[in-house]
């Protein structure tokens, strides 16, 4: 099969993937404004704006919750990626002893179920006096995000290596400068995926936030889950739409800023 022959099939797969991803979101949007939707109707029987009113003027202050969720997730994304990058530099460039051990240990939080791990973690936080604080929540989210950050950053750091940096150094650039001038631009795609991953993991944390934050640190995931548990489909849906939508907006902004930064450098 030639390249041109393959094209229609490729497009079909692409469209199918898009439908699979977008259809549930579309249904959620419809559900957000549904008052009654009895089976087997194709469309809802009656509509409502109750959910919008509840979302905007209800018991939760949407703006501040959105703000704190995004802020928290951005902090986790930045810290996670920086720690991931530093770990990756230590193992891949400076070749510290026991680097194989590091790469396995980094994955440990993935193996332990997060509910189990969150409960143990809460005890530690209480001992340290960090329970019910933002710092405590940041640390607990970081533990959940780091396996991804470290793995992604180790992969990109290994592929970029230090060859360009060493060239910059013999041309007169200090080690720090050579890293920022020539290695960092090459690492940018990896940094972006690590930050996105950490962001979405922090954004979606429920149990860890609940335990480490003691209910005092409110995030979107935290206020959303009770509605789902109550079975209020319309409200759950509109929260889910806000959840997905706000995450997408943040990704878009990050992507835009990265683009700008790359251009500004030239």
């Amino acid at each position: 099969m030639s390249k041109a022959d393959r094209k229609p099939y490729m497009n079909a797969v692409l469209i199918l993937t898009l439908v699979i991803i977008l259809l549930p979101v579309l249904i959620m949007i419809v559900w957000s404004f549904t008052a009654r939707w009895p089976w087997p109707n194709i469309m809802p029987e009656s509509w409502t704006t109750r959910t919008i009113t509840e979302l905007l003027y209800g018991s939760n202050d949407l703006v501040s919750i959105l703000g704190s969720s995004v802020l928290l997730a951005v902090i986790v994304a930045v810290l996670g990626t920086v720690i991931g990058l530093m770990t990756a530099r230590a193992t891949e460039i400076y070749r510290i002893r026991g680097r194989r051990v590091v790469s396995y240990v980094a994955l440990l939080p993935l193996i332990v179920p997060s509910t189990v791990f969150a409960m143990g973690f809460q005890v530690t936080l209480i001992r340290m006096g960090l329970n019910d604080t933002m710092t405590g929540v940041v640390i607990s989210h970081l533990v959940a995000a780091l396996p991804y950050c470290v793995t992604i950053m180790m992969d990109v750091t290994a592929s970029v290596g230090d060859r360009l940096e060493l060239q910059a150094q013999v041309l007169g650039a200090s080690p720090a400068r050579s890293f920022f001038d020539v290695s960092l631009p090459e690492l940018l795609p990896g940094i972006l995926s690590s930050a996105s991953m950490a962001f979405i993991i922090s954004y979606g944390q429920y149990f860890t936030t609940l335990l480490a934050g003691g209910g005092k640190i409110k995030t979107l995931a935290l206020v959303m889950v009770p509605y789902i548990q109550e079975g209020d489909r319309a409200l759950s849906s509109i929260y889910a739409v806000v959840f997905v939508g706000s995450a997408l907006v943040v990704f878009f902004v990050i992507e835009l800023m990265m683009h700008r930064a790359m251009k500004g450098e030239r």
Binding site: Q169, V170, G172, A173, P185
Partner: protein
């Protein structure tokens, strides 16, 4: 003497790679280091430039002991076999990079890059991205960038290995010409004895230099 190396020992991952290497190079000399690949020539270069730690021995350049001076202050530039052009910069920006580090303003450094582009016979290609260049052109850009740093000494690591025969002849002449024009002291690694004969004032055999460990 421009460069003096005495009893140099280099260790990588706890294995001795280079044992008791000594050599001397005079100001303005073009010296070739000939030997099979993997005999330690590239490691010697890295040790001189300061990007590989030295276990013992002495490296002296212009009467100054280099051992404890970091790579970026040594004024020794390596042109690597794989060119190592910076993909996030244009051709001109690559060449101007050493000047950017020195804090020379953009206009001046790009003007200098133009001159150097002419020196390596690549006029008009300054705005290209480095991946739009052929292997030979990339090698020239790497050379121009090294010259922009105004190094005390130039180390060429198999500069012709990526080129076909016709281009090699051009590059040989170009390197010889630049060596004289810029009053360089050049140390070149090659595995081609004929090439070494054609180009250098003096040839050092790898086997006489590196005692195998």
């Amino acid at each position: 003497m421009k460069l003096g190396i005495k009893d140099l020992n280099v260790e990588l991952n706890n294995t001795l790679i280079m044992k008791d290497v000594s050599l001397g190079i005079e100001e303005g000399e073009f010296v070739s280091l000939v030997g099979p690949s993997g005999c330690g020539k590239s490691t010697l270069f890295k040790a001189i430039a300061g990007i590989v730690p030295v276990k013992s021995g002495e490296i002296v350049l212009d009467g100054e002991k280099l051992n404890d001076i970091p790579a970026y202050k040594r004024g020794v530039v390596i042109v690597f076999q794989d060119m190592r052009l910076f993909p996030n910069m244009t051709v001109s920006e690559n060449i101007a990079y050493p000047l950017k580090i020195k804090g020379i303003d953009r206009k001046k450094r790009l003007a200098r890059a133009e001159e150097l582009l002419a020196d390596v016979q690549l006029e008009g290609l300054g705005d290209r991205r480095v991946n739009q260049l052929s292997g030979g052109q990339q090698q020239r850009v790497a050379l121009a960038r090294a010259l922009a740093a105004e190094p005390k000494m130039m180390l060429l690591d198999e500069p012709f290995s990526a080129l076909d025969e016709e281009l090699r002849e051009d590059m040989r002449q170009l390197i010889k010409k630049l060596h004289h024009e810029f009053h360089m002291t050049t140390l070149m690694v090659t595995h081609d004895i004929n090439e070494a004969r054609l180009m250098s004032d003096r040839i050092i055999g790898g086997s006489s230099l590196f005692h195998y460990v």
